[in-house]
């Protein structure tokens, strides 16, 4: 039987506010345990939450970025459950009136085609603390620094049909939130996590199969692998005459499998109700319009502009617009050197290669966009050859000079375009290579083209790579043919 996979994602994005969603405690990552957990975060008696305006603004910005409806009124609800890293006994969330309504995210697949994935809604909520199950004499350690950190939970419709589409969706969300600057998107530090709902159904079937929810997947690669494993498991189960149980599963990256989390005796019953400590949040139109007017250019728009205005290929435009840091770097290089295609080639070639080798992000590149732009400009105006440019790049990378010009100067890489100087070198090479000259002279005229390579090499060597290769070629041909 042909099976179809149906996937929906719930992505939790940690918003990059300085303070927590309902308190003035810091959200900085990596602090000593419980030093950033104040009375409100601890749920001590008598405390009251006050909503962080920046968290609201960031959620609305996201909504606008995915062309979502922004309802005038949103309401916070309590989701009740007991767990030691949730000191109040409830999570403040938005169940019935989320801050962001239905929207749409455009994803780009590997073949360059695009697809729209609908977002059901996105809501604000607070994060819980962390439970550490290492050995504390049989006890569990609780760190509440993360408790109260603002999260935006983005819930998609079940619109994805493959693990690749799910990964592309997650990347698109990552790219939107980092472009907007509303999250650092750091998956390793947990700034973005996702729950994946997966089911399969016979192809052509219109109703959904029973789904399993895979919790807390924290990398693009794991999302893909967890789904692939889960799909295979469900198909095997169904083909053997079994049934998929609706349950929560955990993905174990080491074993590369999903495992059932022990189901509790009773199904979750969160008893949601409106939080009496928080009033409805009302957004006036002028506020929403102001945020809309100040949105940065988002990845999909940037990609289209790179293709239409700069004439880049779909692939190049996709790579260069994937992250805001990459796009800004590229645009700066382009502005300095005035050539979009050369800028694209250098950023994706020499620069990306070097970054990958050293495992560096573009933000940490030792070569600045200004330096690279200037270097490309020197190739364009024939100051240096393409070969010398790579040397200059390496020198910039290793901090051997402040600018391309300084390195060209100190290393003497300036291309020799003075015909007299090149001719002198050619005469010397011809005088030093009587045997090769004789061979050239005796060869059939149509074979001489290939033989000229030897002489070009010698001249380039003599010039330490600084002679202009086109000029060397032309002058050599002239001089050698004169000898025949």
């Amino acid at each position: 039987m042909q099976w179809e996979t149906v996937i929906g994602l719930e992505v939790h994005v940690q918003l990059a506010t300085r303070s927590k969603i309902f308190s003035g405690a810091s959200t900085a990552f990596g602090a000593e345990p419980n030093t950033q957990a104040c009375a409100v975060d601890l749920g001590l008696p008598g405390v009251l939450p006050v909503l962080n305006e920046q968290a609201v603004a960031m959620a609305v910005q996201f909504g606008l970025g995915i062309h979502a409806e922004i309802p005038e009124v949103s309401v916070f609800d309590r989701k009740n459950y007991f767990y030691p890293d949730l000191p109040k006994g409830y999570q403040t969330s938005q169940m019935y009136h989320p801050i962001v309504g239905p929207g749409e995210v455009e994803i780009t697949l590997e073949d360059g085609s695009t697809k729209a994935v609908r977002v059901h809604h996105a809501h604000l909520e607070e994060d819980a603390g962390k439970s550490l199950h290492e050995d504390f004499h049989g006890m569990t350690g609780i760190d509440l620094n993360r408790a109260g950190t603002p999260l935006l939970e983005i819930v998609s419709e079940p619109d994805m049909r493959s693990a690749k589409e799910a990964a592309a969706y997650l990347k698109a969300i990552h790219s939107i939130v980092t472009y907007l600057g509303i999250s650092d998107g750091n998956m390793a530090e947990g700034s973005m996590r996702c729950d994946v709902n997966v089911s399969v159904r016979p192809r052509g079937e219109t109703t959904f199969g029973t789904r399993a929810e895979i919790k807390n997947v924290n990398s693009f690669r794991f999302v893909e692998r967890a789904i692939e494993y889960e799909v295979e498991r469900q198909i095997e189960l169904l083909e053997a005459g079994g049934e998929v149980v609706q349950e929560t599963r955990l993905y174990d990256p080491e074993a590369d499998e999903t495992r059932s989390m022990r189901t509790k005796e009773e199904a979750n019953d969160y008893r949601y109700f409106p939080c009496p400590d928080l009033l409805p949040v009302v957004l006036d139109q002028a506020y929403v319009d102001h945020l809309r007017d100040n949105l940065p250019e988002l990845p999909a728009a940037k990609r289209a502009r790179f293709q239409d205005e700069l004439g880049l290929s779909a692939y190049d435009a996709g790579v260069l617009s994937a992250s805001r840091a990459m796009a800004e770097y590229f645009e700066r290089v382009k502005a300095v050197c005035g050539d979009a295609k050369q800028a694209a080639n250098w950023v994706q070639g020499e620069l990306s290669g070097a970054l990958n080798r050293e495992g560096l992000a573009i933000a940490d590149s030792p070569v600045s966009a200004d330096q690279l732009g200037e270097l490309i400009a020197r190739v364009k105006d024939d100051t240096i050859s393409g070969k010398a440019a790579k040397q200059v790049f390496q020198a910039l990378w290793h901090g051997e000079g402040e600018s391309a010009d300084a390195i060209i100067e100190t290393k003497g890489l300036k291309q020799v375009t003075d015909t007299g100087a090149i001719e002198a070198m050619i005469d010397q090479v011809i005088a030093d290579s009587p045997a090769q000259v004789a061979q050239y002279r005796d060869a059939e005229p149509e074979k001489r083209g290939k033989m000229i390579g030897y002489f070009v090499g010698q001249v380039m060597k003599a010039s330490r790579g600084t002679a202009n290769p086109q000029q060397v070629n032309a002058l050599l041909k002239e001089k050698l043919d004169a000898l025949c």
Binding site: T17, R18, S19, S23, G24, A25, S26, E32, P33, N34, T35, Q36, A37, C38, A39, L42, L44, V50, L51, N52, E53, Q54, A55, V56, V73, V75, N80, F82, Y83, P84, H97, S131, L132, H133, F136, G138, M139, T140, G141, I142, D143, L144, M261, R262, E266, D269, R271, P274, P276, L278, L279, P280, V281, V282
Partner: protein
């Protein structure tokens, strides 16, 4: 819908309240009367009435995104039964 004994025990469990049999019987009666009143409310025609999220006719004030809380871990942990390396210790939780 009549409330049953098992419903009371379930609600108590969800709220982590330990009730003995006598208490459970008493709550069955009390909660039953509350639900009767809810039934009366349910009978009202509320078509065209916007759901009320909060009894106060006001909207949420927002605070500026500023860190205003200093570290008071030592003070807060004084009332905790067990702490170690700055962590609160609780009976082991296994997922």
């Amino acid at each position: 819908m009549a409330l049953e004994h098992a419903d009371v025990l379930r609600a108590a469990h969800l709220a982590r309240l330990g009730l003995d049999e006598g208490e459970a019987d008493r709550y069955l009666g009390d909660l039953g009367r509350i639900l009767e009143m809810v039934d009366q409310l349910q009978a009202l025609d509320t078509d065209g009435v916007a759901p009320l999220a909060h009894p106060l006719d006001a909207t949420q004030r927002l605070r500026a995104d500023e860190v205003t809380e200093a570290d008071q871990r030592e003070t807060f942990q004084r009332c905790a039964p067990a702490v170690e390396n700055g962590l609160y210790l609780v009976p082991r939780v296994v997922e």
